[in-house]
């Protein structure tokens, strides 16, 4: 027990330290690295709080994907020579005040909890059996609150469209401007050949196990995206142009199948996004598989960034 207490205190100190150093860092690159480490430490904290689903998501999205996006932004800024943007003192002061206010508010809320903390968890578990799922988080995402999950996937498509819409007209339909480091027989090439088979298996496992245990489409999709990006950055596979005929169907296949199953529920079950009795689990797994693919491609393309070159040939 005490060893865990020591570990927890150490973890908290470490998280706070990394947070401070991230804010204090004057170099964008250093700040991003700090942020990634912060995300990974936070995911350990979530594991300690027994929220493994949150931990996986924090590690994959908060640390991994966001870090990747920000590193890309830093690289672009360096390339464009805009790295030394100084922020004026009043803006810094205002930011500090705002952050302090939010932190104080949260502290008030967290330090004075209600006498009995109400929760929906027992009700979630009680009703989970009829869907055949074992993971309550999957239950919330795909059974009780499927509408939110479905529309969040549309948000992802819109985000990608927003990134694409930044391109000059002349390169529309062209290739995202991912920085490629193609060097023969480098460590990167080696890793890009070694890791993807493992990564793909992990992604499939995460997607599959999500129905029973922590995991699911978003985590699996992130791993897929990471593998795809690794292969593209190493120059083993070319970054596809957004006009490729396979690309957009892959991007929407997840939400489209989700939507179709939801609409079928209006006829075959009692309501929109209700599943016919006995078919809930297979249908949800089908949705998760399609979503994993779509999320993987969408996150990969988001990290690849805006279009930069017109399509060749």
């Amino acid at each position: 027990m005490t060893i865990f207490a020591v570990f927890d205190i150490g973890l908290v100190v470490l998280i706070l330290g990394i947070a401070v150093s991230t804010i204090a860092a004057r170099d964008a690159f250093a700040a991003v690295i700090g942020f990634v480490v912060y995300g990974l430490l936070l995911s350990i904290a979530w594991v300690r709080l027994a929220a493994v689903d949150v931990a996986l998501t924090e590690a994959a999205i908060g640390g991994g994907m966001t870090g990747m996006l920000m590193l890309g932004a830093v690289a672009r800024l360096r390339f464009a020579g805009g790295n030394d943007i100084s922020i004026s003192l009043p803006v810094r002061f205002a930011t500090a005040v705002l952050c302090a206010l939010v932190a104080a508010g949260l502290a008030i809320a967290v330090l004075s909890p209600p006498d009995a903390i109400p929760t929906l968890a027992p009700m979630v578990m009680e009703n989970l059996a009829q869907s055949g799922l074992g993971n309550p988080v999957a239950g919330v995402l795909f059974v009780y609150r499927a509408l939110d999950t479905l529309l969040e996937k549309v948000v992802l498509i819109l985000a990608l469209l927003g990134v694409w819409s930044l391109a000059p007209d002349s390169v529309w339909g062209g290739i995202p401007g991912l920085r490629v480091y193609a060097r023969r027989s480098s460590t990167l090439t080696f890793l890009a050949q070694l890791l993807p088979p493992v990564g793909i298996v992990v992604a499939i496992y995460m997607c599959w196990v999500g129905a029973k245990e922590p995991g699911g489409a978003f985590q699996g999709g992130t791993v897929l995206a990471a593998m795809w990006l690794l292969v593209m950055i190493a120059g083993l596979k070319r970054v596809p142009s957004i006009g490729q005929p396979w690309l957009r169907p892959l991007l929407v296949v997840g939400p489209v199948i989700f939507l179709a199953i939801g609409l079928a529920g209006m006829v075959l079950a009692n309501a929109f996004l209700a599943y016919p009795p006995g078919y809930a689990k297979p249908l949800i797994v089908a949705v998760e598989v399609a979503l994993t693919l779509s999320i993987g491609v969408a996150l990969g393309l988001l990290a690849a960034g805006p279009l930069e070159q017109a399509q060749q040939q």
Binding site: V102, R145, L158
Partner: protein
């Protein structure tokens, strides 16, 4: 749980229409994205008018029955599941936004139309998809019966609205879009933190359930404050309006119209839901005066800055900052002095009518400004001379929009301000009446500046740089006329705004 037997929440007849109102835009977005090319425009051409049709059916349903339409998604009743609910406010706002979006779509055919057989182009492809996404997100804002569903809705709205700002790709519009994105994301995150706190305290985010369980405690107050500030940032209420003028003025005309008329009303609507439906008793007199004070500051600041503008689109954008202020005057005016609760009274009707009439009038004015820009090649107010002779219909539409903003009869703005003034007199809060009257005076001022320049004769006859299609002018005029004649709803469906409200539910049908 004691609430279980009080709550007869069940899908009503025609409740499936609510699902359709959210699902069909989503399907349109996905289909357009995958088919690409000219299909985006064609799909929008089919879906947007059917959306208007759908909104009118829901409107008539709610108006006739005087009660809400409800749909239980996935057959899971709240708190486990999500309910979609259409009360009078939702129905009226859905109808308005459907009209505005259809008019904007017609107007946009000139700038974002795609010729059959041409290759896919960036701007039209993005525009039509984003327009459908905004329509779907707004429907979700109006129908969502759950605070987290509303979060998803404003996320959709943000990601649909921000790319519209920089659709023409100039460096300054990119900067404006980025600033908008930062404000909007800050707003989202504050709102989300607030929802998490509320869930932690009450184990539900359903609006009806929450309104029965909520009580004054520190966590709830913090949550309410964070959510409200976040939504204010998205609504561009003074002093969080900094992002609005460059974003709304820099966007292409059709996009400006939809951003100013439609998008800012989304987060405003959630403020109304939050304070009138979830916690009507928590704002209190001090909070209500604060909301009203911010609104008054927005009116004065926005109007004064609008008066100083050299460019027409910026003037209209600052006018939006001012008009948003009016929306917040209804909070102190709707506060019942005895129970210290926000009441669904004449002030609420006035405030919502202000939102509706501003939506139609402002869309018309931004469209008119777009036409003026296309004809002159600039929008410098000092050099507008002769434009009224070249495009009289457009200037007329612009003037009619102004009539509604000023609040002259029989416009919607008149009825809105009338109801708000009435509430100010009834509750003895004369200071809000002064602000409203002063705001009207300011509005007349900047409308006069623009119109007097526009009707002034120019030295030589003005040669339009482009031929403006008739349908563009007609779309602007149609919206301006809608706004002008909106005051006539006083004789008809104005009472829909009270239909199916929570209080009237508890008291029983009137």
């Amino acid at each position: 749980m004691p609430e279980a037997n009080v709550l007869p929440d069940a899908t009503t007849t025609d409740g499936a229409l609510l699902v359709l109102a959210i699902v069909s835009p989503a399907a349109g977005v996905l289909l357009s994205f995958v088919l690409g090319g000219q299909y985006a425009e064609r799909i929008a051409a089919v879906l947007l008018p059917s959306g208007l049709f759908l909104a009118s059916i829901i409107f008539v349903d709610v108006w006739r029955s005087g009660d809400r339409l409800i749909y239980i998604v996935g057959d899971w009743t709240p708190p486990l599941g999500i309910a979609l609910r259409a009360d009078g406010l939702s129905a009226a706002m859905m109808m308005t936004m459907a009209i505005v979006i259809c008019a904007v779509a017609i107007f946009a055919l000139a700038d974002f139309g795609t010729r059959a057989g041409s290759a896919e182009a960036r701007a039209p492809f993005a525009f039509w998809i984003l327009l459908m996404a905004i329509w779907g997100a707004m429907n979700m804002v109006f129908l969502g019966g759950d605070l987290f569903t509303l979060y998803v809705a404003i996320e959709l709205l943000t990601f649909a609205a921000v790319p519209l700002v920089c659709l023409d790709g100039r460096a300054e519009t990119l900067q404006a879009a980025l600033r908008y994105l930062l404000f909007a994301l800050l707003g989202s995150i504050l709102y989300l933190v607030g929802t998490a706190l509320l869930y932690g305290s009450y184990a539900t985010l359903d609006i009806v359930l929450l309104s029965r369980r909520i009580h004054m405690e520190p966590a709830t107050l913090v949550a309410a404050a964070l959510m409200t500030i976040g939504l204010f940032a998205k609504t561009a209420l003074f002093p969080l309006h900094l992002w609005l003028p460059p974003a709304h003025a820099g966007a292409p005309a059709a996009a400006s119209a939809v951003l100013s008329a439609v998008v800012v009303k989304g987060s405003f609507f959630i403020v109304v839901r939050l304070w009138f439906d979830v916690m009507p008793g928590m704002l209190g007199p001090a909070g209500a005066q604060l909301f009203g004070g911010l609104g008054a500051a927005a009116i004065v600041f926005g109007s004064v800055v609008a008066l100083q503008q050299q460019r027409l689109k910026l003037l209209i954008a600052y006018s939006t900052v001012a008009q948003i202020g009016y929306l917040f005057l209804m909070f102190p005016l709707a506060l019942d002095t005895v129970s210290a609760e926000l009441q669904s009274s004449g002030a609420l009707t006035g405030g919502m009518l202000q939102a509706i009439s501003h939506a139609t009038a402002k869309a018309a004015m931004f469209m008119a400004a777009g036409i003026i820009y296309a004809v002159l090649g600039h929008d410098r107010i000092a050099e507008l001379g002769g434009v009224a002779r070249a495009i009289p219909m457009t200037i007329f539409a612009f003037a009619l929009g102004g009539v509604s903003l000023i609040g002259l009869p029989p416009s919607g703005g008149f009825l809105a301000k009338w109801l708000l003034l009435e509430a100010a007199v009834a509750t003895g809060q004369w200071w809000w009446a002064i602000v409203m009257l002063a705001g009207g005076l300011f509005t007349s001022g900047y409308m006069f500046i623009v119109l007097s320049r526009a009707v002034a004769p120019s030295g030589e006859p003005l040669k339009p740089r482009v031929a403006v299609p008739r349908y563009q002018e007609a779309a602007a005029l149609a919206l301006a006329l809608t706004s002008l004649l909106l005051g006539l709803v006083a004789f008809g469906p104005v009472d829909i705004l009270q239909a199916g409200r929570l209080e009237s539910m508890l008291v029983g049908p009137r």
